[in-house]
């Protein structure tokens, strides 16, 4: 569906993308994951035809996307920006854009359905009065109003509350179920790993990995995870000994903060670590107040992978 072959793009001295290759299969939800500034938006703009590649080729459904209005009939794009006309009303905005492709009556019906689909039913309110979440939904409605075959979403979860995120994920899954291929970017791993059936990791303008989410997660799981455990000191001592005996950690540190002591454990195998610690705690009746992973930082993971 989408093929990028050895694509490079620079803006002056800044190299946004360097020799990037990427493939999106028809019918998939492809998660496009990378830290901020990795080149995700530039890549998506190349796919949608807003940018010309300096080197390499970009093809969407076998065609060059630049100024290709026939291709745009089959694609929908949600940019990361607040690219709405604030003086318009939501329905008027979506209807106007739909009329570029559909006859008047059909455009109005399609706009109504697209707005219902994203759960936006605001009457008489101008876009400038919309919340960030409402604007995000409106952008999605405008992107799907012409029933595209390919939907490209650039950071669509930004500004959405947890309920909004869940609804957006469901909407994307539903669209995919109806046959729409989805390419969705985010810098947050957990936003994509559940919903995607393909994942592409990008860092510093280059593809790091491409494949099924399970393969990608496995790759990420090899990254040393740091876990902070808060418990009374005697309990921490007992737990440390047990974890060393079980060989599930690569290092241990005791951290004293104010009057409390925390244990910082590092493991190379988080998949194995969590069930074993749970078992050890239960079997040995160890009291733990708090346990958390401190390595959710995607940038740290990407730094490790490169």
């Amino acid at each position: 569906m989408i093929n990028l072959e050895n694509v490079s793009k620079s803006f002056g001295d800044v190299v946004a993308i360097s020799n990037l290759s990427m493939h999106v299969r028809a019918g998939s939800i492809t998660g496009f994951l990378g830290p901020n500034g990795a080149g995700k938006s530039t890549t998506l703009k190349l796919v949608i035809g807003e940018l010309f590649p300096d080197l390499g080729t970009v093809s969407v459904m076998g065609e060059n996307p630049i100024n290709n209005s026939r291709l745009k009939q089959k694609t929908g794009y949600v940019s990361e920006h607040d690219d709405l006309y604030p003086w318009m009303k939501g329905k008027q905005f979506v209807t106007s854009l739909a009329k570029l492709l559909l006859p008047r009556e059909e455009a109005e019906r399609a706009a109504k359905e697209a707005l219902a689909k994203v759960g936006l039913a605001v009457k008489g309110k101008k876009i400038k009065a919309y919340s960030k979440g409402m604007k995000q939904r409106l952008k999605v409605a405008a992107a799907i109003v012409h029933n595209p075959d390919l939907l490209i979403l650039d950071e669509p979860f930004g500004g959405l509350d947890p309920l909004g995120r869940r609804e957006m994920k469901k909407l994307v899954s539903d669209l995919n179920h109806d046959g729409v291929t989805v390419l969705i970017s985010s810098h947050i791993l957990y936003e994509l790993d559940q919903m995607s059936n393909r994942m592409n990791l990008i860092h510093r303008g280059q593809t790091l990995a491409e494949g099924a989410p399970s393969e990608i997660l496995e790759l990420i799981d090899q990254f040393p995870h740091q876990i902070l455990i808060h418990a009374p000191i005697d309990q921490l001592q007992s737990l440390s000994k047990l974890m060393i005996d079980e060989s599930i950690i690569s290092s241990l540190n005791f951290m004293k903060r104010d009057k409390t002591t925390n244990l910082v454990a590092v493991t190379n195998n988080p998949k194995e670590f969590y069930p074993k610690v749970t078992k050890l705690v239960a079997e040995n009746e160890i009291f733990i107040e708090h346990l958390e992973s401190t390595t959710d930082n995607i940038e740290a993971i990407f730094e490790y992978l490169t």
């Binding site: 009939q73 019906r109 012409h146 029933n147």
Partner: protein, 268 residues
């Protein structure tokens, strides 16, 4: 839930004209809510401050007020053309709304031509209001200076003269707005005053009005076709029809340049 309508086939179900109308409606909406539109109407009161100081004023003084090298032709018209011309595309770029347009099944050239038609509609309406304000304002400030009803042809001539200014300059500035990503307004201002100042005054100092000034051609056309009883203006080695062709050529040329530039442009 699945949508009821059929998926569009590989060809458009709308024509070029239908899409242009939708785009123009979309763009026109902006100007109704944009404060700039009303400021461009209000600035037409400024030249009237100059009129207050006139003694025994007549219809000739009114034409002097809007004619060549006046505050209207030298400052207000370039300003209106500049603001509407440059901002038409550069506003879309700055507000990132260009993304919405580029993602739609319309050619980039269609966006440029629709923008051009939009700024022509808006500009020509503003100039109609401005001409009326100047014409009636002059008469109200200087009662008895001329008979309004007997001089309606001057009002019409003023409108055509200022409209020609606008059409030519706004098209050039539309191109500037497409071509430049930053400082388009600043460069447009520099072009307007460089062209008007050097073209009209300095180059004009060498044997009559210079043919290198667009302003001179506009003034010449107006003096022959729109306000022939009140204006006398010549351009060296040009007749009035050639000057008209220069104006038309500039409009077509810069519109084509804007479309070609848009076609090849990156929108980061």
């Amino acid at each position: 839930m699945t949508m009821q309508y059929e998926k569009p086939k590989s060809e458009f179900s709308t024509t070029y004209v239908e899409r242009a109308i939708i785009l123009i409606q979309l763009f026109l909406n902006k100007y109704i809510y944009d404060k700039k539109t009303y400021i461009l109407i209000l600035i037409s009161f400024l030249p009237l401050l100059r009129a207050v100081s006139l003694d025994n004023a007549g219809i000739d003084d009114f034409v002097d007020l809007i004619g060549p090298m006046s505050i209207v032709s030298f400052i207000i018209m370039p300003l209106i053309s500049l603001i509407l011309g440059v901002s038409s595309i550069s506003d879309e770029k700055e507000n990132k709304t260009i993304s919405q347009l580029l993602a739609r099944p319309v050619k980039r050239e269609e966006i440029v031509v629709s923008k051009w038609i939009t700024i022509m509609i808006v500009g020509l309406i503003i100039i109609a209001i401005d001409s009326l304000i100047l014409f009636l304002g002059f008469n109200i400030l200087l009662p008895g200076s001329f008979d309004v009803f007997r001089n309606l042809s001057v009002l019409l001539g003023t409108y055509f003269y200022l409209s020609l200014w606008y059409v030519v300059y706004a098209t050039i500035f539309l191109f500037v707005g497409v071509f430049l990503d930053k400082n388009a307004l600043g460069l447009g201002l520099a072009i307007a005053y460089f062209e008007a100042f050097f073209g009209q005054f300095i180059f004009g100092g060498f044997g009559g009005n210079s043919p290198f000034s667009i302003a001179n051609h506009v003034n010449y056309v107006a003096s022959e076709y729109f306000l022939s009883d009140f204006m006398s203006y010549r351009v060296s080695n040009f007749d009035e029809f050639s000057s008209l062709l220069v104006c038309v050529g500039i409009v077509i040329g810069f519109l084509a340049l804007a479309a070609v530039t848009m076609r090849r442009k990156n929108f980061p």
